[in-house]
């Protein structure tokens, strides 16, 4: 039989976050992206970008240059399925900066990708996506 002692759970941090649906969608999207076998590495970052506002940035390492397009389509489809209300942008990169335990260095990643995002948003490739 399972017994428990009453605890003051509030001291562990508030679980009633402002947007539970977004949080659940974000983490479900992250898991879905990790399950994609058509990309070598992936990182999902939530940030604010100029002109775009709230953005989901999906950085991925394609299996090969020829498979970059399929990786981008898979990532965009997952974003549209899980969080259709948030602007999402998938960018191919050769490397995702990480700490020793594998955690993504998100700030460094966005710094690195920002010029390519700006370019993508004005290019025919982005329009075709």
């Amino acid at each position: 039989m399972i017994e428990y002692s009453p605890v003051q759970f509030a001291e562990f941090g508030d679980l009633d976050v402002p947007d539970v649906a977004f949080d659940e969608g974000f983490f479900a999207l992250e898991l879905e992206l990790l399950e994609l076998p058509c990309i070598r590495e992936v990182a999902l970052v939530h940030t604010e970008l100029p002109d775009l506002g709230e953005t989901l940035l999906v950085a991925f390492v394609p299996l090969s240059p020829e498979q970059e397009g399929s990786g981008r389509r898979a990532a965009n489809a997952a974003c549209a399925r899980r969080l259709p209300g948030v602007f999402a942008h998938a960018v191919a990169t050769s490397d995702i900066p990480r700490s020793a335990d594998g955690e993504v260095r998100a700030s460094v990643l966005v710094d690195r990708l920002l010029p390519q995002i700006a370019r993508d948003l004005t290019s025919p490739v982005e329009m075709s996506d």
Binding site: V7, L49, P50, E68, G102, L114
Partner: protein, 537 residues
């Protein structure tokens, strides 16, 4: 790390067998015992009087570090690993918390250490692991700390009997978001129980050759290195960031077990050198932290390494708690694991009550590996009885569920979505700069890249193709002016090129481009610097 008594026991049984491999350096058990004996004596003689005595290390994996860690374990001094990629600010915060009496550092990481100033810094002893082979104790210029080389300590005569070990203390750094790391403290030894559980779970033994391809600062890597040395196996340290060298090391050293950090594992599997390891190598178990690894890694590891990959779930606060074996990895969701011996897990609802299987909540873990608390304050613990008497559970920041098969599935790595805060002004100007450059008629093509590399720092690199041969100067002047007008806070390095490489879908191949232009930019900067020096002279 392993203590001198255990090393002596192995040295007596197998004095000529290799204990530690680091490139061309090979320590037999006899040499390892001698080095640790001398190191412990040297440290004991030089140890500052401050208590509790604590050591930290800021160095990549090397045999000298293994000796230093074993000497510290022998003397009862905690030896905490610091992230070698952390900046001076983050390290200063950690050193202020840890107040180390001894700092083991390599030449490569000494400059960043010298920029760190912490209250007890002047009393600390710095031990330089490489570089000068021997020398007297000296003062570190500008810092006031005493500095001694590893070679000097190693030249110390062993003591007839070592001093009594200090009270046990083990400290583990927890990387914090936004550069606010914390430190987990354990005040009772768990190494013996951990060894027994790992042997029960995996069947490790003294014939294993274990590769540590992750920083020894990482708790799982350190724990497994200690386990294999305690069993009398061979510990292989290597340059794990180079995938070709790592693949060669696995085959040449006949590695049977390995712990590989996630970045090194992805690079290894992406490298052609790993394609034949399933047939040519002796690997039987590879452990990697699984929180950030994806399906491609699981599938490719099976193909290239064989059925050996185990993804581990561990936290610095709770230790190595769950693991997923290679067979089950193919059918289980990513980020899942089975609880290991000695760990209990519950999923809690918002009121702190245990949830049944299949329901999502906060993950809480109990067991002998769980820390006693944080160095700087209280931690979130709760006492629950889940059928084994009251147990103290650490409430992690992660959410997950126990599925119908009894596996832990981590569904989110924090309570809420982390948002990366940005410098909006700089980001806006980078967007504007891209638009500006598209409208310049004097360029055929250009690429803006933001880099942060040694020698250049945080800066823009802007290669361009001029509109015609002989028009490079115009392009250079125009681009430099555009960059300086838009983003004066970032230095811009503008350079003419013949070709800008693109992927089939139009993404700039930044690695290829940077490889071709960075050496030229660095050379130009050096020439400029030399000219300025000559002019000022």
């Amino acid at each position: 790390m392993i203590k001198l008594d255990d090393i002596r026991r192995h040295a007596a049984n197998r004095p000529e067998q290799i204990a530690v491999v680091d490139g061309a350096s090979r320590l037999t058990w006899g040499q390892f015992a001698d080095h640790v004996d001398r190191m412990a004596a040297g440290l004991s003689a030089q140890l500052p009087p401050t208590r509790p005595a604590r050591a930290v290390h800021l160095a990549d994996n090397r045999w000298e570090l293994a000796v230093a860690m074993a000497a510290c374990a022998t003397l009862g001094i905690s030896c905490t690993g610091l992230d070698t990629e952390a900046g001076a600010e983050e390290l200063t915060g950690l050193l202020t918390q840890l107040q180390p009496t001894v700092v083991f550092v390599s030449t490569e990481h000494r400059p960043v250490l010298d920029r760190c100033v912490w209250p007890t810094g002047p009393e600390a002893l710095h031990v330089l692991l490489d570089g000068a082979k021997a020398g007297a104790v000296a003062r570190v210029a500008g810092v006031g700390s005493r500095s001694v080389s590893f070679g000097t300590l190693l030249a110390t005569e062993p003591l007839p009997s070592l001093p009594a070990a200090l009270p046990y203390e083990s400290l583990t750094v927890i990387p914090g978001e936004g550069g606010n790391p914390r430190v987990a403290v354990r005040r009772s030894a768990v190494e013996g129980r951990h060894l027994v559980d790992l042997v029960d779970e995996f069947g490790f033994d003294g014939s294993d050759v274990h590769l540590t391809a992750a920083p020894l600062a990482q708790p799982t890597a350190r724990g497994l290195a200690r386990t294999f040395l305690s069993l009398g196996g061979t510990l292989v340290l290597g340059r794990y960031r180079d995938p070709a060298a790592l693949a060669a090391l696995i085959a040449e050293e006949r590695v049977t077990t390995a712990v590989i950090d996630p970045v090194a594992l992805v690079r290894l599997l992406s490298h052609p050198g790993s394609e034949t390891l399933a047939k040519s190598a002796q690997l039987r178990c590879v452990i990697a932290l699984g929180r950030h690894l994806n399906r491609w890694v699981v599938n490719t590891a099976w193909e290239q390494l064989g059925p050996v990959l185990h993804l581990a779930y561990s936290t610095p606060e709770t230790g190595l708690n769950a693991i997923m074996g290679p067979d089950e990895l193919h059918v289980a969701p990513i980020r899942s694991g089975r609880m290991m011996l000695g760990s209990s897990l519950v999923v809690l609802d918002p009121d702190g009550l245990p949830l049944p299987a299949g329901e999502n909540g906060r993950v809480a873990i109990a067991g002998y590996q769980v820390m006693d608390g944080y160095l700087d304050g209280e931690a979130a613990f709760t006492t629950l009885d889940v059928g084994q008497g009251p147990q103290r559970f650490f409430v992690t920041g992660e959410r997950g569920q126990l599925d119908a098969q009894g596996r832990l599935v981590v569904t989110s790595r924090s309570a809420e979505v982390p948002t990366v805060s940005r410098n909006g002004a700089v980001d806006t100007e980078i967007f504007r700069l891209e638009a500006d450059l598209l409208n310049l008629p004097c360029l055929r093509d250009t690429a803006v890249m933001r880099v942060d590399v040694p020698g250049l720092g945080d800066s823009l690199v802007v290669p361009f193709i001029a509109v015609a041969v002989g028009r490079e100067v115009t392009g250079y002047k125009t681009l430099t002016a555009a960059c300086n007008r838009r983003i004066p806070s970032l230095p811009a390095h503008v350079i003419a090129v013949d070709h800008i490489p693109y992927s089939p879908t139009g993404t700039i191949k930044t690695d290829e481009l940077l490889d071709s232009v960075l050496p030229i930019i660095k050379l130009n900067l050096q020439l400029e610097h030399t000219m300025q020096q000559e002019m000022s002279a």
